[in-house]
């Protein structure tokens, strides 16, 4: 059996590799293989997989990439993610990608899709317009059409067009992956000392850069390792982290939150991997099922219109209750309009419900954690006090 440390080391290796060695190795293993990148938050990876391509999450360069060229593309008041993505591309690190998908997360990612069209005319670029209308007849039909188009076009790029059977297989695989992720999140919620967020995050992050089959294997191995070496319970406050769905915080920040005395029991890091929160049916028409799966089960997030007028007000209470959390840490990237505008509504709702909150901003390359440590530490202590009183 592989040890917990062995799996975490493997994941850390993938996470830190800005050359995307695992993806390149997969490409080298078979002639004519192709890879397709996607930006946060949600991309239908089943469609990429069914088209015979490797789906690779492009989440920026974190704190390990020096930005030399990227700053020439972005003003100082735009978040950090696109400049590090451009840096990766301009330094040739993304030259193994034959296609790039840009989901409708925000105006920055939307405009980046056009920049890609200009800068890399040989790469297949698709802007993915997620359906904001949530009824099946209108939004569902629209999204189904988008997925069919994507299937056709990726099939052309890969030279291995998908059919219903291959798409159903891919959906089944991703159902397995989603199921494992749900289980890992459940385990962390139930006994957070057994699944430290730092480890869970690395595993999730590695899952964005390797074939889904490999992720499934490693996730299962990790779960077995957790059973074998459950770790020690500590006296910490339980928090959920909200706002980090796109540009990812540096790993150091995640560690800081936990070391300051908090157990993260729910979060929205790498949210795309669990945007569909239940299995997608593999019976009948798989494209329709995938489209329907999105409409019925997409989680509440800042990138989708909230049709329920009370939705934003109630969301933190619901999530806190579901995770049995003591409080909320709003952690959003600087200059991130969707997260920061949402924060005002979410925080007001949380505070009206008496839920303790703190808020800060970060950039993926933030290097100083002292201030976060103090803030999170004081927060954890105060929650314990309130909890005891």
């Amino acid at each position: 059996m592989i040890s917990r440390a062995g799996i975490v080391d493997w994941a850390l290796g993938i996470f830190e590799d800005l050359e995307f060695g695992a993806a390149r190795a997969w490409l080298a293993e078979g002639p004519g293989r192709k890879a397709c990148g996607y930006l946060p938050v949600y991309a239908p990876r089943e469609v990429v997989h069914a088209s015979g391509m490797l789906a690779v999450g492009i989440h920026g360069g974190g704190d390990r990439l020096e930005i030399i060229k990227g700053d020439a593309f972005y003003q100082s008041y735009i978040c950090h993610l696109p400049r590090s993505v451009i840096e990766l591309a301009q330094t040739g690190r993304l030259d193994f990608l034959s296609a790039m998908l840009f989901p409708s997360t925000c105006d920055v990612i939307r405009n980046l899709s056009g920049m890609w069209q200009v800068l890399y005319p040989d790469v297949y670029v698709r802007y993915l317009e997620l359906p904001q209308v949530q009824d099946q007849a209108t939004g569902g039909a629209f999204w189904e059409g988008e997925l069919r188009l994507l299937l056709r076009e990726l099939g052309r790029v890969s030279g291995r067009p998908a059919d219903d059977a291959s798409l159903a297989e891919s959906i089944a695989l991703y159902n397995t992956a989603r199921g494992l992720i749900r289980e890992l999140y459940r385990m962390r919620r139930e006994a957070p000392w057994t699944v430290p967020t730092e480890e869970l995050y690395l595993l999730m992050r590695a899952g964005e850069g390797v074939p889904v089959e490999t992720f499934i294997e490693k996730a299962r191995a990790y779960m077995s390792a957790v059973e074998a070496e459950p770790g020690q319970r500590k006296d910490r406050s339980r928090v959920i982290v909200v706002g980090a769905f796109c540009e990812q915080p540096p790993l150091g920040l995640i560690k800081t939150i936990e070391r300051a005395g908090c157990y993260v029991v729910d979060d929205d890091f790498l949210l795309g991997n669990r945007f569909l929160d239940t299995d997608v049916s593999t019976d009948n028409d798989p494209v329709r099922a995938l489209a329907g799966g999105f409409l019925r089960h997409a989680v509440s997030s800042s990138i989708m219109f909230e049709p329920d007028p009370e939705g934003k007000r109630n969301l933190m209470r619901q999530r806190v209750q579901a995770a049995r959390a003591d409080g909320v840490i709003f952690a959003a990237p600087s200059f991130c309009d969707p997260a920061l505008l949402d924060r005002a509504m979410l925080r007001a709702g949380a505070e009206a419900d008496g839920i303790p909150c703190i808020a800060f901003k970060y950039a993926e390359n933030s290097a100083q954690f002292q201030q976060f440590r103090e803030q999170a530490g004081t927060f954890a202590d105060s929650m314990k006090l309130w909890g005891d009183s």
Binding site: I303, C336, L340, M345
Partner: protein
């Protein structure tokens, strides 16, 4: 006389706006339904066909900026917990609502009966109305306008749009106004729109003349005001554009330039194209920097956020709902970056510009993300170096007059040097 005509169009516009705000103020008493909506992709004709009054929060924000009120509103919103990083239009609007909701003309603004959320070209709109919905507790109807990621509005996207109009937007308007959808009325209004659009395009195209009879950025933000806001498809809107066109044609025939706040600009030394919205808090000062240097703007992209009429689009009364899809889909910030670059290149070439300038505003990712690449590409394709300046829309803290003036002056000196080289 040119001056008399100019006065007439200006007077007309002033009167139209004053009347509209008075009607809005009286709406709670008169019972006229009020629909809040946004500029890019607005459905003014449809709203008006239900006898509802449109109110556009962005216009309030920019007007507050021009009248020196926005700074305090933005700070008020930040004190309430809004981040200093986010779009200042939103904060200005929320700050205004929390400070008594007195609009730019000094009248009290009514609460919305409906928030018509169409987020053409910008996702921040979605958050904006989610926030306002909390404030006003009124119904919200969502219209999802797909982005032209591939450079055109796909037929399926058009279909999706029309379906939403039929299934949610029109029923929502019927419900809040108590009136039935009247397609004939909509057609009549769209006919008036198309006529105004012809007139506006004639005005915009007049800048091809030398000297240009208009300033297509600072001056044109006034010209597009009625068509971008509450007056497209109305009789008074139509009359405004008829007289504006007559006035501009007269000025062009007389070989005169535009009238700037500092007086006429007949002697024009530089013809520029501008990308990006203006700064509103120092609008006159900003314009003066240009007119002091005898620089006239001959084309701008900002004046296309509410419709790209100069590339041929006209509202079509024969396809009343489909034409609304084409209109919304084609608004400037709903175009992808390659199309935006093409547009700038065309402007520089067709308007024989000496240079182009990007005003990048901190607030607006929809405009600003990608502008540095646009600068580079346009420079490469036209051989014309561009200038890049930074400011904000309605947050006065981000307007540095000295920096902007220096940048503009050195840019114009560079144009002089290039001219001198060509003469040699």
């Amino acid at each position: 006389m040119a001056t008399a005509n100019k006065d007439r169009s200006m007077e007309l516009q002033k009167q139209m706006i004053a009347d509209h705000y008075k009607r809005l103020e009286a709406a709670p008493e008169t019972g006229e339904p009020v629909v809040y909506t946004f500029v890019p992709g607005n459905l003014t004709e449809l709203i008006r066909s239900f006898d509802a009054l449109p109110l556009l929060p962005e216009i309030n924000a920019l007007q507050s900026g021009m009248r020196g009120k926005s700074g305090e509103f933005v700070v008020a919103a930040e004190k309430m917990g809004h981040s200093e990083d986010v779009c200042t239009y939103v904060k200005c609007d929320i700050g205004m609502a929390k400070s008594g909701n007195v609009g730019p003309t000094g009248t009290r603004l009514p609460k919305p009966d409906l928030l018509l959320l169409s987020y053409t070209g910008c996702y921040t709109f979605m958050k904006w109305f989610e926030l306002l919905r909390e404030e006003y507790k009124c119904p919200t109807v969502f219209l999802h306008v797909p982005y032209q990621g591939d450079g055109s509005l796909a037929p399926e996207h058009r279909e999706y749009f029309v379906k939403q109009l039929k299934e949610s937007v029109i029923p929502a308007l019927e419900k809040v106004t108590g009136r039935k959808y009247d397609e004939e009325r909509l057609r009549a209004s769209l006919r008036l729109s198309a006529k105004s659009e012809d007139d506006l395009v004639a005005v915009l195209h007049s800048a091809k003349k030398k000297p240009s009879p208009i300033d297509a950025y600072f001056g044109a933000v006034y010209y597009v005001g009625p068509i971008f806001s509450a007056f497209r498809g109305t009789a008074e809107g139509s009359e405004y554009y008829r007289s504006l066109r007559a006035e501009v044609e007269e000025r062009a025939a007389a070989g005169l330039g535009p009238v700037t706040p500092e007086g006429p600009l007949d002697d024009q030394k530089y013809r520029l194209v501008v990308e990006g919205p203006p700064n509103w808090t120092h609008f006159r000062e900003f314009w003066k920097m240009f007119s002091d240097e005898k620089a006239v703007v001959v084309a701008s992209t900002y004046t296309k956020v509410g419709g790209t009429y100069d590339f041929g689009f006209r509202h079509d009364p024969d396809d009343p709902l489909g034409t609304l899809a084409d209109y919304c889909g084609g608004c400037y910030t709903n175009l992808n970056i390659p199309s935006r670059i093409d547009m700038l290149v065309k402007y520089i070439q067709e308007y024989e510009a000496d240079g182009f300038l990007i005003n990048s505003v901190k607030s607006c990712n929809s405009f600003s993300a990608g502008q540095l690449l646009m600068l580079r590409e346009v420079e490469q394709r036209t051989g014309c170096p561009g200038a890049f300046i930074e400011s904000d829309l309605v947050d006065p803290r981000y307007f540095s007059a000295a920096n902007i003036r220096n940048r503009l002056e050195s840019y114009l000196q560079m144009i002089d040097a290039r001219r001198a080289e060509r003469v040699r």
